[in-house]
Symmetry: C2
Subunit: 280 residues, 2 copies
């Protein structure tokens, strides 16, 4: 079986997964949270980080979906194995549930868990060696991007803009030119050997961001969580992105301007090497 | 048949409408537009305004769903009639379609039209006579609220906050205290006999807002589209909301403070009377 969807306790081939209710609040209000999770070589990468974040997201939206970490881990692994692929991208979404369309939380509503599993295609080695290009784009997202919800239309439009310009992603900045994230990745810059990344204030706490921080501490690389502004990234020695499906990815050009030498930098490679090691 | 759902050319009782794909971009990315439309006494209220706005929303998101206004009108009427109710609330949503989950617009994607029809419950006369209470709430929505999309989680949270406080709705304000809208309604205030409402810049152009404007012009009531700040609404003689499912609704208390006399005002009643007349 190739791609799969798990809905209300049953597995379907993805092409048959027309099983969501038209009045699911995830569909009508973006009233749902999610996680993208990777399964590789028989195990799920940083599963507890994902499940803890999922729990936080549910709490913040007051979606009462209780789950046991071990049971959820087993379920995800089971679905991943069923695909038959070595590397699987699992997508887990929990919406508030189905109810007559009205804005406030419905008095009775059963949260809806869905999981999809698809073959995971890693970033090709040559792409990483070359680095990627980005554009800058106003951060048009809502104020609660610290919660991992499907209220993602601003992210979609920013990413589509990048695609149209023939580059990898958009680096988002606020009105005061403060840089936040890319459309679905955290952002880092390197200056004089130290790593800088925006603080957890109005950004999403990425699982890979956490790994990068741990690695920097282990390697004794100075790591600063500080506000970064547009002008800073253009003067950086290195810029890179992090995310579950990209690991870390060097950005060598932004808005047509070379970053540092225009090639992936030393600090990037050091962190990347450790990241891959930690996965084995 | 009571509530109905129209999906891919077929009608279902709403409780059987588990027909949306798990990878519909409306479900995973809030990548969809919608309209709420009222059917009453054999016809749809301001159908062309709704369909024109729908077309604009689709264009702004580059969702290539072509439709003929007359055919869509007939379809909506047919579905409304099938419910057997005199007053029907039609909800129409068009998502970009189903595709493997990736942020940018998919190269091939067939937009998905769904329509639901439910009995419409108007605001009770005594509620309107008494007026409603509201709270104020920061406007946490994304930047493109001028497009009628399902990227509505901020609206949901603001409305839920109001419900928890035991009031009707939240009046949203920006960081500079500029007032925008309520969670799903346009906002008006009356001062010295003139009506004021925020200009079409960072708000949604409501169909009922347009009707209020026409009525004010007909009644020779001065009508100003001007930025309104929090302090202005507390000093207003009257405040009211407009929306498809509420028509216009007087706000008599905000954050516990009386507005004007604490009762629905003269200008409100004048406009309301005309609005109801125009529907006959």
């Amino acid at each position: 079986m190739p791609a799969l969807a798990y809905i209300r306790g049953r597995l379907y081939p993805i092409e048959k997964a027309y099983k969501i209710h038209v009045e699911d609040r995830g569909y009508q209000y973006a009233d749902a949270v999610y996680e993208s999770i990777r399964y590789e070589k028989g195990k799920i990468i940083r599963i507890y980080d994902h499940l803890e974040r999922l729990k936080r997201s549910l709490n913040m939206l007051q979606i009462s979906f209780e789950f046991n970490f071990e049971e959820m881990k087993l379920l995800l692994e089971k679905i991943a194995v069923k695909t038959g692929y070595d590397r699987v991208l699992l997508y887990l979404q929990i919406s508030r549930g189905v109810a007559r369309r009205e804005h406030p939380f419905p008095p009775i509503c059963i949260p809806e868990l869905v999981i999809t599993a698809r073959k995971f295609k890693p970033i090709p080695a040559k792409t990483r060696k070359k680095g990627v290009k980005c554009i800058t784009h106003p951060d048009e997202r809502w104020d609660r991007v610290d919660i991992k919800t499907v209220n993602l239309l601003a992210n979609v439009l920013a990413r589509e803009r990048a695609r149209k310009k023939g580059v990898r992603d958009s680096i988002l900045f606020r009105e005061d030119l403060e840089v936040t994230e890319a459309s679905s990745a955290n952002l880092f810059m390197v200056k004089d050997g130290a790593i800088y990344t925006p603080p957890l204030n109005g950004i999403l706490e990425g699982v890979t961001r956490k790994e990068v921080k741990e690695i920097a501490l282990n390697l004794k690389i100075n790591f600063y969580e500080e506000y970064i502004y547009l002008q800073d990234i253009f003067l950086a020695d290195e810029v890179f992105l992090s995310g579950t499906s990209i690991d870390i990815l060097p950005v060598v050009e932004i808005d047509g301007f070379k970053i540092g030498s225009g090639k992936p930098g030393k600090v990037f490679w050091k962190v990347y090497e450790e990241l891959i090691k930690s996965r084995n």
